[in-house]
Subunit: 432 residues, 3 copies
């Protein structure tokens, strides 16, 4: 990892990485993805870059042609660039086909996209699977275009190439694995793009630094939808066999809400662990059903794939006004916002790493006092002090894992872990 | 079906039939039942009339003697008929034994029934299984009777005969069947009597006109309680083997509430289908537990019978002030009231006819765009359009039927049916 | 039983017994326990007294040395006893080791216990498993001690002896048994000590007088915690094999709340029976989870023991201000308070004695009228009279016991018992 990390908080580091990556024009394929992954490679030595050729079949889908943009603008008759991709890459509809044409304003209008209700925002629009071209502008910009003729230029290539993604596998003591998946396919947006890769990168760094990982970690940086479909088409069997929990990392950078979007099944280990972590990390978090899904959990939880994958977010996509516009920028995403997202997911991982089913080793309550675990003077109230410990013992009947113990007893997961480990060390609990 | 149907709405036709049938004096046996079934036979060519002799054993019951009334009245000393069955057949207690006797007003009083709290209503009273005679009058009428002597005449026969019921079986492609059961045993009352037979007749007409029925339909017009017990005693095995859902049709004619009374089990296919239909047909419907039962579901759901039978009603028996009085008439029951009851049950049948378990045919989401099922231009909000379709795909995992999909996703059942059939036609869903 | 019972209500008798037992200094071992059991023996002829030697191993515990107190006081320099165990046995910390020492007030302070927030209450403090000595005083008393030297005397023995408990087994027709367990280890306190033994004694008297008990009753008078652990260590297998329900009897004497503390499993027969009894006996009772436990259910429900044991209380330990102080006295505990606790537990036992699974013997509803169980004249409302009976028949499908029937239908348990027995006598229900 770079020196940057040594001298600032992880939240500030993540915000710095996002700042570096912000200007790159990413899409589901193309050099923007490659530049993004190259930057992240410097932060994560083990990151492997994969290229999947256009035309490759992946379940019901085919990897599309690769799209790269040289320049894209609209000139007026005086040669002034009234809209320019160079100023903001959201100005160009994603996957626009090449064009070089003069049009009247009336002819141009169907190729323009704007948001009347948000007159200062450039919308984010794509057309991956139908050939089109178009420009996205603020409503204010659009309203001020005088009639006349305009020169629309999209100097882009849309031709066979490949789809690019990054993958890092961190082996643990067990074959069972935890999935972290984030996307790298949106142009200059912060919460609904860069927050995911930078938080995932920080988590990968933290995990790589652990010298005794219990689980194996599969960490993916992929284009959304087509990327997860391609990846699943190549790794479905092993992922079904090994994945005990997974997290789609998206929209983890703003400073407003916390959100948990459940898996389709709704009660997998990932759901249960995330729920008890969020209850303590952010008691007012918003709980979403899988009906509210919107990112790669759509693939990971689809029928026939059925992985135990949830998504922990700050403010969920579709639920904040700046979503999918130029207003989703690096003032919306903050160091503390990113830190909160990072902390929440890391706590889930820590809980999973320590999660086991325990059984009390003796019938009846053990005598905690002789082991120094209980106050020896019993007056009114003094029993309360050892209450959490007694509760963990009382419910450790070989059917409840630590996640469930914490949930049932109302313990902070970190406290639950500490108690079971203390009791196991004293021989009062045994691991199933 | 008669010409009447051709020229007016089904609601108006049903109200017309009820108007024709209103004056007939029905009871659990007798010629009133026969006249009612004869009228309905003209509307339903396949209706078969069955006669079950008095004295026939049916589980714990015995078919009672048959009751027919010539005349019944109370005369004063001047020969004026102060109460007369000819004016309203509710005036006579059902199953009154013959009498021809002079009594003082004091002697007469124990044979009179009235409702002090509803002074203008004639109550509906019967005494099927204990020999009695009596007259029902308004409280106003009763209070005005001067003292003196009265001549009570019940010119009725109560002697061995038979119990009469109607049955129509409409065969479908499958042996599995759906039960519709209504009663024809109350005298001049509209919601708690005629609404049931006329809505059931209209449903039978609609079902008979379907040329490709999936299920077989067993449609019964029976006297309440003793009729369903007699019928079950003769058909229990086949009904247990084949019935997938059933509906008791009663109180389906007023224009106030909608009600769903659940089966004893509470979660059968009939319960689930009715619930999701009612949620969309009448979001403010009243949901009743089987504890609130009151019609033939008492027999169909009894231990040892255990059929999946619910009751969809407008305002439930016992829950409206006119219930079991002369005020339950054809101003309370309206064409639109009947239409609503008809529509609700028909929607349940349509849902059941199209109900199956589906599985997605490909892992991950399919590419709807290339099949013309998805907007190709992705901007903010455009994904919402295809949301219902994506949700149906996401939850079609081979465990949920269409009823359950509609319920879970919050879809109108008709919309759910349309989506699964569209997706099945494109090969994206396969029927289990 | 004594004459006392013959001439006053059971509530007054219980209060009388508690008054007699109040002054005795009980602890988890010692002569106070023996004197208490000797008194109860006079009321319960079958009570057996057991002695378990100090040093006996019981699961994770060892029976402690026996503690007996001759005298204990604090004298000032003028020989005035400023604190004296003879005045209130709560003044001495339970299991105080012998001492005979002059100290300054400053040296004495760490040996004093008081409650600043309840200045007129002597707290109840023990130190069973760590050697200490100490005195409990009111805050007012403590604040008035002038500086100077004090003579602390604890004339006690703390040496090998035995732990004493009482047991009575009342055989029934079946080997299956019901456990009643109460503790006899607190000094002069009323709700959180004597209410339990006196209510249990009254219940034992009532049970002994029943000449046709269905179940066997195991009734224990033990020191809390160590007593139940010792007892379980000797009887675990037979108790696991036979116990169908159990009740810890504690805090059953005040006149304020009613409480039900559930077993760890939460849905055992004991939980279900207690819940439906409390719903009718005391509709506003407080329902506690096992997380709120505090008495011997801690042992009976521990992992590996897993007995179906609940606790029915008036105001629960820890939930009233007088708890574990000298204010928990015989003004707080009243005859009617004790009567209420007795009645609630007795109703549970009566329900359990009559609890069985029943099945209707005929498909469809039986004809209640011909058996004199149903009104023969059917008018509006008359059906309601037989409603409870019809409901019991409707739900007696061989899967629900009387507890469940009463709960589901909303019947008072006594009414449910009466109905099933009436229906069984008529041959309409058969016992599974």
């Amino acid at each position: 990892m770079s020196n940057r990390q040594m001298t600032s908080s992880i939240g500030e580091q993540m915000h710095g990485w996002a700042t570096d990556l912000f200007p790159i024009c990413r899409s589901i394929t193309g050099d923007g993805v490659r530049r993004t992954l190259a930057y992240l490679s410097d932060l994560m030595p083990g990151l492997t870059i994969h290229e999947v050729p256009s035309g490759t079949q992946a379940f019901d889908w085919i990897v599309p042609d690769e799209w790269n943009v040289g320049a894209a603008y609209i000139e007026d008759e005086q040669g002034r660039r009234v809209v320019d991709f160079a100023r903001n890459n959201l100005h160009l509809v994603g996957y626009s086909e090449p064009v070089d044409r003069w049009l009247t304003l009336e002819e141009l209008q169907p190729h323009l996209h704007s948001l009347p209700e948000q007159p200062y925002a450039i919308p984010y629009v794509t057309s991956y699977y139908a050939r089109r071209w178009g420009f996205c502008v603020t409503q204010e910009q659009r309203d001020q275009l005088p009639s006349g003729r305009y020169h629309a230029v999209v100097d882009a290539t849309l031709e066979p190439g490949s789809l690019t993604y990054g993958e890092i596998i961190l082996r643990g003591r067990e074959e069972k694995e935890i999935l972290l998946s984030t996307y790298i396919c949106h142009p200059s947006m912060a919460n609904n793009e860069l927050s995911g890769p930078v938080v995932t990168t920080a988590l990968a760094g933290w995990l790589a630094a652990q010298d005794d990982r219990r689980f194996t970690y599969r960490i993916l940086f992929i284009p959304e939808t087509i990327g997860s479909i391609v990846y699943l088409s190549q790794h479905l069997d092993e992922m079904k066999r090994n994945t005990i929990a997974g997290f789609v990392v998206s929209c983890v950078g703003d400073d407003r809400a916390y959100s948990l979007l459940h898996s389709r099944a709704g009660d997998t280990l990932a759901d249960r662990a995330a729920k008890v972590v969020m209850k303590h990390h952010a008691p007012h978090y918003v709980e979403y059903s899988y009906l509210d899904r919107g990112s790669d959990e759509r693939q990971y939880c689809s029928p026939g794939v059925d992985l135990p994958v949830v998504s922990i977010m700050r403010t969920r996509y579709n639920s904040y006004p700046e979503y999918h516009t130029s207003l989703d920028d690096l003032t919306l995403v903050t160091p503390s916002g990113l830190q909160g997202g990072y902390d929440a997911i890391r706590k889930c991982i820590e809980l999973l790493e320590h999660n086991s089913v325990y059984s009390a080793t003796t019938p009846c309550e053990p005598q905690l006092g002789k082991r120094g675990l209980y106050p020896t003077l019993s007056g009114r109230g003094s029993a309360d002090a050892a209450r959490a410990m007694m509760n963990v013992l009382a419910y450790s009947d070989g059917t409840r894992d630590v996640v469930d113990l914490a949930h049932h007893i109302g313990l902070n997961p970190a406290e639950a872990i500490s108690i079971v480990e203390q009791l196991a060390a004293k021989g009062l609990l045994s691991r199933a």
